[in-house]
């Protein structure tokens, strides 16, 4: 009993110390010596306990370009808005498990970016509502909090502000999921967003042989490889994950046939503007047959996600 009380006191002391160290740090310790040491000790502890996992998973990171970049390219090519490209918002109620919810949170995020860039405010409001519900159901409360939701709603008519806020919100969601060891969902959101923006490109290419669009389709070879690498650790998570990865690998096989000729050219630097101009070139050759095969496979994968 006495021992138990002593242990309780130790725990209480450690807890108070911990709260103090967190509070001290959170208040902003810029010069931080003592605070930093405490944090370093905690991080050392983290490394000891979880370090290998963290480093294995995060040591080599693979990024996926923002779906909004694709939407900008499409708009800049003066291609007309087409609602048919998007996943109908009324399907959002069909997604009952976290796997489908996370994928379609990514899909709807890409769709919202497309709607926003084309300034389709009424539809953007509907898509945002679907995103809000899916994020609540996935319990990504930190990112999609009331303040953020209110900011998004207030800026619905302001294309530039909205894009900035939504992108930051998705980044917060990504961070929140990483903080809480829920990367299994984070990778699905990324996958959904990438697939949807890719789908928009492919739909355009079927009606309009715009060389810039076709080139961008061929360039999806790189993010696809990165995406497979990001998803691979979750292969055994469930049958759904395994099926998705297998399908993406099949898509990657088609891309393997696309030749890329890379030439390194020394970059130029504009120090005053903190800018490096990358002059290296990358030429890509893709046949119509390869484009058709990519379109077909992509449609099959997307249908499995949004149905």
């Amino acid at each position: 009993m006495i021992i138990s009380r002593k242990v309780s006191k130790i725990v209480l002391f450690l807890f108070i110390m911990g709260v103090f160290s967190i509070g001290f740090y959170s208040c902003g310790n810029d010069d931080g010596t003592n605070g930093e040491e405490t944090i370093d000790e905690n991080i050392d502890k983290e490394i000891e306990d979880h370090g290998s996992t963290t480093l294995q998973f995060e040591g080599a990171l693979f990024s996926i370009p923002s779906p909004y970049e694709i939407a900008f390219l499409v708009k800049n090519q003066r291609i007309d808005y087409n609602k048919e490209f998007l996943n109908p918002v009324n399907r959002s109620h069909n997604y009952v498990n976290n796997y489908k919810k996370a994928l379609n949170l990514g899909v709807y995020g890409a769709d919202l970016g497309y709607l926003n860039i084309y300034e389709q405010t009424p539809d953007a409001v509907s898509y945002f509502s679907a995103i809000k519900i899916l994020s609540q159901e996935l319990d990504i409360s930190n990112a999609f909090n009331n303040e953020t939701i209110s900011r998004i709603e207030k800026n619905m008519g302001n294309k530039d502000s909205l894009l900035y806020i939504i992108s930051n919100t998705y980044r917060e969601a990504d961070k929140y999921l990483k903080d809480n060891n829920r990367n299994d969902l984070g990778v699905l959101i990324l996958t959904g967003g990438w697939l949807e923006s890719f789908h928009i490109l492919v739909q355009i290419a079927q009606n309009d042989k715009n060389p810039q669009i076709i080139k961008r389709i061929g360039e999806q070879k790189y993010p696809l490889e990165n995406l497979i690498t990001i998803l691979n650790p979750f292969y055994n998570e469930s049958h759904d994950y395994a099926k998705l990865i297998d399908e993406l690998v099949e898509l990657a096989y088609i891309f393997d046939g696309i030749d890329v000729e890379y030439t390194y050219i020394k970059p130029d630097v504009d120090v005053k503007n903190k800018l490096t101009i990358i002059n290296s070139t990358s030429e890509l050759v893709m046949s119509d047959e390869q484009l058709d095969m990519i379109s077909e496979k992509l449609t099959e994968i997307r249908n499995n996600i949004i149905e």
Binding site: S4, V7, S8, V11, G18, S21, I22, Y25, S26, G32, E36, I39, D40, N42, I43, D44, K45, E46, I47, D49, L55, E58, G59, A60, L61, F62, S63, I64, P65, S66, Y68, E69, F72, N76, G109, D160, L163, S167, N168, Y170, R171, D174, K175, R216, E219, Y222, N226, T229, Y262, Y264, P267, N273, K274, L275, T276, I277, I278, S280, T281, S282
Partner: protein, 137 residues
């Protein structure tokens, strides 16, 4: 109360504290991803110990300009980052520019790049946080 519980509590405190560090470092990094730059919606992080090097693989589209913001700890300039092409030709290193916490890159062609990040001081440990934004056109 058992020893196991104490251990769990210490682990919990450590995790919360590490998350607090990530949060502060991310905020420091995020102040450079502002309009006209739009976040790519991801946060890249790696826990580094001593002279460990983190590798980030990224695709950059031709015709676009990107900003890479890289931070660690509580002060700017604590993280060294270098950008290589897929053939490992060095394109940029912030070491040449007083460990600048951000830099812009204009790509003429779409490229796969490798970004390496390591702590400025080889002693100690910390999170390397990297954010990427693309320039709105």
């Amino acid at each position: 109360m058992k020893i196991k519980n104490i251990f769990i509590l210490i682990m919990l405190i450590g995790t919360i504290s590490a998350n607090a560090q990530v949060e502060n470092t991310t905020q420091m990094c995020a102040k450079y991803i502002i309009p006209p730059f739009v976040s790519d919606g991801q946060q890249y992080r790696a826990l580094l110990n001593g002279d460990e090097v983190a590798e980030f693989h990224a695709t950059f589209y031709g015709g676009s300009t990107y900003r890479i913001s890289a931070c660690s700890g509580t002060s700017e300039g604590s993280l060294i980052f270098s950008v290589y092409d897929k053939e490992r030709n060095l394109i940029f290193s912030n070491v040449d520019y007083q460990n600048s916490p951000y830099w812009d890159f204009q790509f003429n062609s779409t490229m796969e790049c490798i970004i390496e990040a390591k702590l400025e001081k080889e002693e100690g440990s910390g999170f390397a946080i990297l954010l990427i934004g693309f320039k709105q056109k």
